[in-house]
Symmetry: D3
Subunit: 171 residues, 6 copies
């Protein structure tokens, strides 16, 4: 297996129609169902980068600003942003499309982390990731800051050691 | 409707068995399916506090440290921690139980935010929340800090204005 | 494993939202879907008492007097009422709640029987059950009568031997 | 609409394969899933007799003596046994078939009651039912006894008035 | 196992209600869901003829002329039309019924081919099929022509060798 | 709306993991479940070309040569090949990928036809399609022949008039 892989190799696209059972009483896609889709498309993307079985390690803060109504088409685009030993951060962009009305918008963006494992669920190393486009480079750079935030939130890093985060707060 | 309600009134318990279709190829509950359950139990809890239809506004960072195998019983306990005008933060604690083995553990904790809306999906005010137990008071106090983090992450608050967060970083 | 356990230890609460696919063409929860939920919550309760895998042995007469509309919250509370060698009777109370309207009612009560089994599906003994509250004692006492009715209906007991039942008919 | 209809006109057959998600951890069809199928096939049968929308009124005691493993074919045969004003009793026989092994057995028999309703869910009259075969006549005769038992169990008839039931107990 | 079996022995009937999640935004059963039902009922029918596990080999052209609305009852009748070594052609007729309106029509007819396999998925021989009724004989005769069309479409037979098909085009 | 649109504008990609409930007893994706996915991705593709609600009109012969095991990733790529008044032919290519093993293959190809409709389900005109690449041109050219075959099979065209088909048989 190659030791270094391009970000583009992990691109995964999932397209779904919003079905009645996915919606709340107002007829809009429930947040939890969207998160379920994000998890699946993200896992496939991380599988593509690592050629391994992967398990979800974390999902960063997701916000739901725009609602997605019944009958809309939801497309999710996932790509690995950066690899760290056995874990990978994946960004998932969600687009909602009312095709008859010709409307499409980028409703959500989420970062999920997956760990590559063997059949006994022991973590295994994954290839490094090489970003190529400007957008990929930006995701790659930000991955370090988001990782520190995750570690601080999980109580596994002291805020005082989170150098990237401190920069964020202008310290 | 009362203007002030107790935290305990929003307690909601959901118990589920992990079914084959909820699991990945290793036989463990997929993260996305757990998030779907969190969203439903959290929404019911926020409904109980507000007596309103609610929509998911955000889900904070969730980490998946411990895997939940097929056949285990999953129970989720949700309670509103604090109310802000039309939004409510809900904490969801997830327990995984292998009953024949007599094992139970608190596998995940998540904070979700819901907004109370009317039938046209316009935000409506919700009652204030009064914490009573020590645990409820701790959740209530922390809700402010988590809210600032959410606003900063969503680009709706400058890090420099996030007084509660800055304290976290010892500034 | 203890030889005697309290009824309260088997309490299991399941909360669900009525989803579109659970409803009939009039928009009400179908009876069969409610029975499916009863079976799951009852099985978990029986698992808690016995610390064993359990299989459904029977479901007593269930009546559906009140319909539960789409969007309502359904909560099911299950508790073991009495143990007999390897079988346990569980009572499941169903509550339907229209939270925005502030309405809640106890729509159904059902008695299910589960048998504790080992991995080869052979019945295994379960702990005795000790009722504590008045309500638990009432359920405990009635369990014998319901058991006779089950045996008579299954053709495994002569009506003339069903002493508890005969009392019911004032004989 | 005719005022009298034959039992045979309501025959409804449903055939299903047991899928992974229908089974418990031992790989057998869960009782609740079978009851869900019974409810659907029974409702279709009652619709055929009444040419009306129907709602489930009750399900009589169901026992699960024989387990149905993953991959088996389940077939359910439903027929109306007797009509009472706006309600109909339906008998559902369940057959489990391991086709490669050439094994088939009648694993369960259940009686469900449905009420015919109009679009406002008000009960409406249904045609009388005429049994023709010996088996249909036996179901027709027993329906009265089962109905009294249902009413007694629901607390809507005094045991002392349940003449058919008393006969059962040899009084 | 018998070397020759009657067509009638493979008759399989599946009855389903159209549920909300099966429908498109106009409230009609989606074609793909109907094909999923056809595949299951057809597979059970082929299992009955062969007493073997079967896998789908092909589905012939299916057209959807008439739409089936939410709440209708769909019944599918499958029967093996002819056996060829290890494969069987099954015809599936679909009926849509609006029972309250007293309307029923034969909305679709499809031909599916299944192959009988052992546990290692190697093809195994199946009994010959004997048609008895006129309808069965017509299906039996046409099976040869449909098989040639399948082989030509799959690029496994030269059009010039498809004698049955050429007759169709009056050559 | 433009009167002419490019084929590339209708490209739709759907990626799914094969879940336990999608598989048969041997652990392979059931044909009917794959057809359900084809129908959804095809419908979205036809929506993109027509900016209309669409309904499935027909599915051409689909063959299942290669089985797709549990845990594999299935990706479906759909593109409109040609438009005819209110109907569109869509080609769906299915790829099965065992990512840990680094294996990927094009397991199925299917042609589906969709009709664009208004809210009363009356057919409406769709834009013409312009093929650009060599592959798109080949699909475009073949669409006429496949359409004649569909009409002949549906009994709506005499074989003798199917000029394109006759060429196929070397007449």
């Amino acid at each position: 297996m190659p030791k270094i892989k391009k970000a583009s190799g992990s691109l995964t696209i999932m397209t779904e129609m919003v079905m009645p059972n996915d919606t709340n009483t107002l007829g809009y896609l429930m947040g939890g169902n969207l998160m379920r889709m994000m998890d699946i498309v993200g896992a496939i993307s991380a599988q593509k980068h690592s050629n391994r079985i992967v398990v979800t390690a974390s999902v960063d803060n997701v916000s739901f600003v725009e609602s997605i109504p019944l009958g809309n088409v939801v497309s999710l685009e996932a790509k690995v942003t950066r690899a760290f030993n056995s874990s990978m951060e994946v960004v998932v962009n969600v687009f909602s499309e009312n095709i008859p009305a010709g409307e499409k918008s980028n409703t959500n963006k989420a970062y999920l982390t997956f760990v590559a494992v063997d059949k006994s669920r022991r973590p295994v190393e994954v290839p490094e990731l090489i970003p190529e486009t400007d957008e990929e480079k930006e995701y790659y750079a930000g991955a370090l800051r988001r990782r520190q935030l995750r570690l601080v939130l999980a109580g596994r890093m002291q805020p005082s050691e989170a150098s990237e985060l401190k920069a964020l707060f202008g310290i």
